[in-house]
Assembly symmetry: C2
Homo-oligomer: 649 residues x 2
């Protein structure tokens, strides 16, 4: 019955190499760079000073080239998308305002120029993006249309007489909102607007619009407002933009996917306007992948602090006379260790996603299905990783008690700065709806337009009927049902294949059942819109179950590639904990669907408890392997080798 475990001899360095993976060198460079940065400069300064500090930091990084990895070699980059994400993920261990500033400048602004523009735009802007000589904005969201970006109201109307576009904010709700780099530093903005030629609307397109002149004053016709104080990320200058008939040359249109000729003739290689819009959005999938990766890094910071504290802090006296380590309490293990296991799982899934993204970038011919799967995985993993970060930071703060509430121990900043991750680059709920739709269509539909209208039309369509009636969904579920053990089977819960089958079975079954429910609603003559609304949470459940299955598979596959026996053993235990804890969290569903008997469900909980105890023995090394330098972590209670300020007698 012993639940206290002795530390193992697991080699944290070997584990770190496994985590660092292919981009080890890049990660090491960024860790070293961060640890020499004196991040404490940001403490206790004013918002204005913080913004200037962050601009200075970002400019230094830009000029050193570290943040340019993803750009073409021609402009000083290395055309290494996966490496640039590894770099970004590692940067996320440090100051999150700096991270987001870099994300805005190099990822969103630079990414839009690179992905939506053509060579003349690249030649004109990319060097200035990289060395931050032109700080820029990505102006998509509007006040009244945050998530529903296909319906932004800003217009860009072509005037053939002057060969200019007129960019205009038609009403106050159409101003650009939350735009990073807008309040202070931005010189130009990539503005998303409804493109109009000859009174014909062509949907949302992106144009480069100057917003400030050389002196820093707003450009003529541009009004700028500061978003003001935020919960966190105070080093980022978010602002609002209004355009009053601002004229930009015809060449300002980022024209990779659509162009307007001198006489105002509109043309695009993509005929369907929805498809065109989501193709444009799809090229920006890197932003979501980056945010998801950053969220995983934030979780690593929080866990490093809380686990180390739990391995040092003692409270209450055992019969032996010795006070007890927090992490030897079962409740403390329950609080922290499943989150640690899940962080490893997300790390593996993120790594797999980055490989897929890199592949898609390198290969224009990657199939539509593969591209949609990539977009879907990016959306879903972003949602689950960012929610995980929010939950993890909170649990770790509480696990450190009052010490966790002191600003010096960093949870204050981690919480406040990362909280918006669940909202920006796509609200998590909206993203999971997109995933749900992709699944329902078997990726046969373009990604993205899961506004209710699109969804309702789709549900009522023949395509959808065909999907439900004929596609693999139903067959897969039946096939799986034949191999996934019934609930009363007392087979081994630690069988990896069985664990994964349970996750897959749930994903497929929830999907099939929401599909049938949607279809039945329509068939029974209910209003299609009401059918959608009644099933919305079910669609999200299907998406979540699917992404959880993807994460589980990725972790299991990545563990299997480990070449160090001791490390593999530790990872294997951690993977068991992750998978079984995921199943335990959904055990009600498995019982409802006959895949767990009540008694096996109780066995499952006992098994998770036993695994907690085993993983606790590795806990120190598992966080050491995250390799966050003490000078970057900056939490007195979380440093690797503390100088005890208040020794306990």
């Amino acid at each position: 019955m012993s639940i206290a475990a002795s530390p193992t001899t697991l080699d944290a360095d070997a584990l770190r190499r496994w985590l660092d993976g292919e981009h080890r060198q890049i990660r090491e460079q960024v860790r070293e760079r961060l640890s020499g940065m004196d991040l404490a400069q940001a403490d206790g300064i004013t918002r204005a000073e913080y913004r200037e500090l962050v601009l200075r930091w970002a400019t230094e990084l830009g000029r050193e080239g570290q943040t340019a990895l993803g750009f073409p070699r021609k402009y000083g980059g290395e055309a290494n998308v996966a490496g640039s994400i590894a770099s970004f993920e590692t940067l996320a261990h440090g100051d999150l305002s700096l991270l987001v500033k870099c994300g805005v400048q190099f990822g969103l602004f630079g990414g839009a120029i690179l992905q939506l523009g053509t060579e003349r735009h690249h030649d004109e802007y990319l060097r200035a993006v990289i060395d931050v000589s032109i700080p820029g904005c990505f102006a998509m969201s509007e006040s009244a249309h945050g998530s529903d970006v296909q319906n932004v109201h800003t217009t860009a109307t072509y005037d053939a007489t002057t060969q200019e576009f007129v960019v205009h904010t038609p009403h106050d709700g159409a101003h650009k909102e939350w735009i990073g780099n807008a309040a202070d530093h931005g010189r130009v903005a990539v503005v998303f607007a409804q493109l109009i030629t000859d009174d014909t609307a062509h949907g949302v397109h992106a144009l480069v619009v100057p917003i400030r002149d050389e002196t820093g004053a707003p450009a003529p016709g541009v009004r700028i407002e500061d978003c003001g104080d935020k919960m966190g990320l105070q080093g980022v200058d978010n602002g609002r933009l209004w355009f009053d008939r601002v004229r930009v040359p015809r060449a300002a249109l980022l024209d990779r996917f659509a162009s307007v000729s001198e006489d105002g003739t509109y043309s695009s290689p993509i005929e369907n306007p929805d498809r065109r819009f989501f193709t444009m959005l799809g090229t920006l999938v890197q932003g979501r992948v980056s945010v998801g990766g950053a969220a995983i890094s934030v979780s690593k910071n929080a866990l490093t602090i809380a686990v180390r504290h739990g391995l040092r802090r003692r409270q209450f006296t055992a019969p032996s006379g010795e006070e007890i380590l927090l992490l030897d309490y079962r409740t403390h293990q329950r609080r922290l260790l499943p989150l640690l296991a899940r962080t490893y799982a997300l790390h593996a899934a993120q790594e797999q996603l980055v490989v897929a993204l890199d592949h898609a970038f390198g290969d224009d011919d990657v199939g539509d299905l593969a591209r949609r799967e990539l977009e879907s995985h990016a959306a879903g993993l972003k949602a689950l990783s960012t929610w995980h970060a929010t939950a993890t930071v909170q649990a770790c703060r509480e696990a450190c008690g009052g010490l966790g509430y002191l600003a010096e121990n960093r949870f204050a900043a981690l919480k406040a700065d990362s909280d918006v991750f669940t909202t920006f680059e796509g609200d998590n709920t909206v993203l999971l709806q997109l995933v749900g739709k992709s699944l329902l269509t078997g990726y046969k539909h373009q990604f993205g337009d899961l506004d209710p209208l699109g969804m309702v039309g789709f549900v009522a369509s023949q395509v959808f009927h065909d999907v439900v009636e004929k596609t693999a969904v139903r067959q897969v579920v039946q096939t799986l049902a034949d191999v996934v053990p019934r609930g009363d089977d007392d087979s081994e819960l630690l069988d990896r294949e069985e664990q994964l089958l349970l996750l897959r079975y749930r994903a497929e079954h929830v999907l099939a059942s929401v599909a049938r429910r949607l279809k039945r609603g329509i068939d029974d003559g209910h209003d299609a819109f009401e059918v959608f609304r009644a099933c919305q949470d079910h669609v999200l459940a299907a998406a979540t179950a699917y992404i959880q299955s993807v994460i589980g598979e990725a972790f299991a596959a990545r563990v299997a590639t480990c070449e160090d026996t001791d490390v593999e053993l530790a990872l294997d235990r951690l993977c068991d904990l992750h998978l079984l804890h995921t199943i335990e969290s959904d055990r009600a569903w498995y019982m409802e669907h006959g895949r767990l008997s009540p008694s096996r469900s109780k066995t499952l909980t006992r098994t998770v408890n036993r695994l907690l105890n085993e993983v606790r023995a590795d806990a120190g090394q598992l966080v050491d392997a995250f390799a966050i330098p003490d000078t970057v972590l900056r939490a007195p209670i979380g440093v690797k080798d503390p100088q005890p300020a208040h020794p306990t007698v």
Copy 2:
């Protein structure tokens, strides 16, 4: 299948009267006082300025008498404990630094003088407590002993030659930590220390110790350090205290429960030192009740903002051409409305608890069992209310998207300031352990000493065996099992009695099963300490289930007293939602224990969804009834009657 509902004609004022209950006048006074306070003065000022502002506010309130309600009439109070808590709860809608400052001065410091001291202490200090002419501290927690306060290391050694106590910090880990009012304003502190006379230790006692002189400089032998920046509550001056053989007169001992004569003879009406310590702690139960109440108020603020935003903000277009209100989305309802229902349930449970507390204060002869039940409910409700607040503020922030991240919409402050509620006045995990122990002993043991050692001794004792073998626990479970429907019974889920029976059955069953598990562990010869550790999360589950049952009963009982038919109907729906959502959250357990069949479990989820839709129709009035003035709520997106800044076209 319609899930969109029309607003009802529910009268928010009638609902407000039901919520305000007996202390309506006090609540209205505080709301009015707060709304005239210009709380925005606290925005954007330095930490030092904020602390001075909060001291000024607290002093003003103190001099007006509002914060003195709970003190004896002799010193300017009204001896109205329940009223003073209603006042504190209402104050919690405003600035939380002010609230905590008041809690420290009037509740902890003043409460300790009142409850642990005798008439001479009252005469000397209470007027100065009330008018804040002596700001004071409650110095209990130490750096190395936060939760384990029975084992603090500070000593108070009696020196009969001078008739003084020598207060001393024997090592650095024994310094007082997190002490409110210590860093800047405190003049004296109630210090908890191990009392020693003639080399004999008598356990922890409280003494009044001056910490600053008239000029504000630290008193001789006292060292003070500022805790510095915190996640929130920056208007409260938390600090650290070290005592270097500080001498205070014999009269400094707060001697209601123990005294030391001139010659150093120790005497106490309570012989057992453990019992004495927990009697002293028990008199401070009001602090936990107050924090729990404040957490419920914080939840009300957050929900008022998010629900109103959800009833105004539209996103994505329906087939009708109209954009859809956020609160008409099922996922949005799932996020917010169960939290709203639970807030009402906690409100009712808190009201019941305050009545019990008031009764205990008014009646010294309240029995031991009743007192222990009160302490247990206070601990448990504090834990669940504060966790609820943390979860609610987070869900509401996310439900408001980017707007929720702007500081002006208040979630930043609500989150940062209330986050520590789960830790202070007893860490929630530790508090639930205390509840678990009370339950295991049938309240026959004194409350409080659930350190592992105490627990282990208890588990191995004959008393415990008797409890498990003979007490009501087992019988109650059997009796309940006869009346709670089996899982396959298709009886009505909306039957109130059945809902409550399910909650009670779970509470009793989990308790009985952890008791048997503990006993079996001992009987099988396992080390008692390991048995405790292995079962710790199970003990917490028992405590949580019990408190959930208490909350459910309180809400149902309070709904039944409603005299307005329309209001009762609305509350009845809300109570259904709360109870069924609680059962739904634990449906895995009910299936594991044969009280829900898989198909009935699915029916349960459908019923909750239907209730969400019904409650959504009342949502506006349900938050209006919280009656938080716009000038106190201070969130542009959450005000009752907004001037639209950005009208949607």
